[in-house]
Symmetry: C2
Amino acid sequence: MADFTTLSNQELEKLKEDLLAQYQTFKSRGLNLDITRGKPCSEQLDLALDMLDCVNSSNYLTEEGTDGRNYGGLDGIPAAKKLFAEYLEVQPEELIIGGNSSLNLMHDAFMRAIVKGVSEDSPPWGKQGQIKFLCPSPGYDRHFFICEYLGIEMITVAMDDNGPDMSAVEKLVAEDESIKGIWCVPKYSNPTGAVYSDDVVERLAAMPTKADDFRIFWDNAYTVHYLEDRPAPLKNILEACKQAGHPERVFIFGSTSKVAFAGSGLAMIAGSAKNMDHAKKQIAFQTIGPDKLNQLRHTAFFRNMDGIRDHMQKQAAILKPKFDIVQSELEKALGGKNIAEWSQPKGGYFVSIDTLEGCAAEVIRMAEDAGVKLTPAGSTYPYMRDPSDRNIRIAPSFPPLADIASAMQLVGICIQLASIGKMIGD
Amino acid sequence: MADFTTLSNQELEKLKEDLLAQYQTFKSRGLNLDITRGKPCSEQLDLALDMLDCVNSSNYLTEEGTDGRNYGGLDGIPAAKKLFAEYLEVQPEELIIGGNSSLNLMHDAFMRAIVKGVSEDSPPWGKQGQIKFLCPSPGYDRHFFICEYLGIEMITVAMDDNGPDMSAVEKLVAEDESIKGIWCVPKYSNPTGAVYSDDVVERLAAMPTKADDFRIFWDNAYTVHYLEDRPAPLKNILEACKQAGHPERVFIFGSTSKVAFAGSGLAMIAGSAKNMDHAKKQIAFQTIGPDKLNQLRHTAFFRNMDGIRDHMQKQAAILKPKFDIVQSELEKALGGKNIAEWSQPKGGYFVSIDTLEGCAAEVIRMAEDAGVKLTPAGSTYPYMRDPSDRNIRIAPSFPPLADIASAMQLVGICIQLASIGKMIGD
């Protein structure tokens, strides 16, 4: 495993020839693999198959005797509110159950903020000139797409293993009233797998913000999605905000898309009772209520948090070997070569690779030419522009093990080739 | 059945005494009835019980083999698009399947129009100063609530048996660029039961509008909800708009809330392919897609339009006696007395009563005092203000027959008492 930076140009040329031959061999295999989407595989979905039977023609009433088939229940049936309040570590009155998509709840929270403002007494974001959002990056492309769509200027903030660069965040929000919020995926972050440290959570909660209507969009998408024995601890942001005297600062989002069924999960938004009361008043104009039968499926199938945690251990048993093979193949191909770094996530859905500067787009192009589709270059940064062209997001959940191995071998070859190209100026 | 207007004050006083005694008798019964909500009864919901069994742990794939449990399908699975395109009389590419609530789709269409504009090349409604909407009334309160919430000024337009007063509509939209649209419930209108005539549909499609970004919000909520042998014919608004050279003028909405399950139906939006493409591009920022399993439940259970029509005949068999008893009790109590008019709907969910001017609020108050909750006074008009205080909306679907009879008897008594009060100045 020679460190590429210690090799002569001649040695690199030689290596390149060898790698090109390997690349051609891959190409000739006619692969057609897709490792772009954080999408559960069938085996994961099968774990929840009983959810399709537990609500049926003889079981559709709530514990209170409410008919799950009829209208009503703006913020969720009591049993679902109880369970998912515990899931997001809030009180039931601090939670609203939505439809099947937490992205939908985030998007709608933006729309309400733009058209009506985030509280009774704050002006609509849409009436305050150009507003901005902080985007810790690498981050989640769909978060950034919402901002771009809505004309909200995105400011990139660096991410490290503990979360966003808080010194940068604190400085920016203290000075600029047009910065209205920050996107956060606090646990097993998409794509780096970072878990926010207590210090980061506390500073986010406590920092002075120039904007009174600043909001943290806390997308706790992977709260129980661990690959080890138990989930990583994460400090409770709502409690931290309350203690810091900013109880209304955070909107928390969660879903069971990657717990139950990806297309038919439950999504939820949480926050202070005041924030949720405000949201409920607005959501009452939008709907009579979400699908209660699907809430019943969740409470009947999972029953309680132990049920969810047991279920996630079964998920981990399927996912861990896939994440392990990404690690072992990357290590085999790139270990000690000093041309790439990658995350070793303890949960979540992604592995994040950083190549040498200026190589990521080339790697993704080469891989695609050889039949392996990777997340488009730049996706993990605002405006799809990775300033260093380094980051590649790997999503190993969906394909079978053998395909992941092949894909990662190819990615390893492509990273080496692109690196050599960069080093010898080819 | 003496015409009240022919009676002397003395005769009216005598009648009043008698009616007050009847009212007290009702009051002493301690009724607790609610005829406010257009909500299916359990027997109606039971008709679709098999929907809870037809998708199960061994049946969750689409016809194409797509896994209904996983992510994907922004605008619906092909079989659902095919069926509900026929349901709304459009082409599949002119339809988007949403979640469980058509109100949600209408609300969101407003939000998109306000924040982004109704098409690529039209400015956001939110950036055009004070905008206005035409509201044929009596109409649906939740439509009006959306406008009020969003600060859109509502202009009341009269309704008759053929739909809105088109001369008034044409004049208003021709002159005022700030009028951006009109709410319509074109078939078995809420609450009058009116079915728009061909002439009304054609004029809505063809009328010149000062605003280029004018939109008809066509809430075809009751398209197959007939009480007779077959649904009333309704001219196809999208076809009419295309023929008139205004293909983008209409957004059509529908749902199966009152076909399948009220809380777990399918909602849909339809319109020109150009409009739907534009909407899809925007909805892609909001969600990865709606619940496909619930679409599968619908296609597995109903199969085709014949299946839906057969199902609606069963619904009608439950609903018709309820609507009949409203008619017979109103006729018994008020027939020939010249103090009220009421609709005889051939479908939909409501009966609309017009009292003498200035009596509706009093009737609703008296009925509530005696244990019968009616839709709040003014609900069928913008800003909850019925200018003549005449309209009362009756929703007979949910309560059992005997309760409807009691409620209508009480309503009959209250209308007579309020009328006499009005006539003799008491």
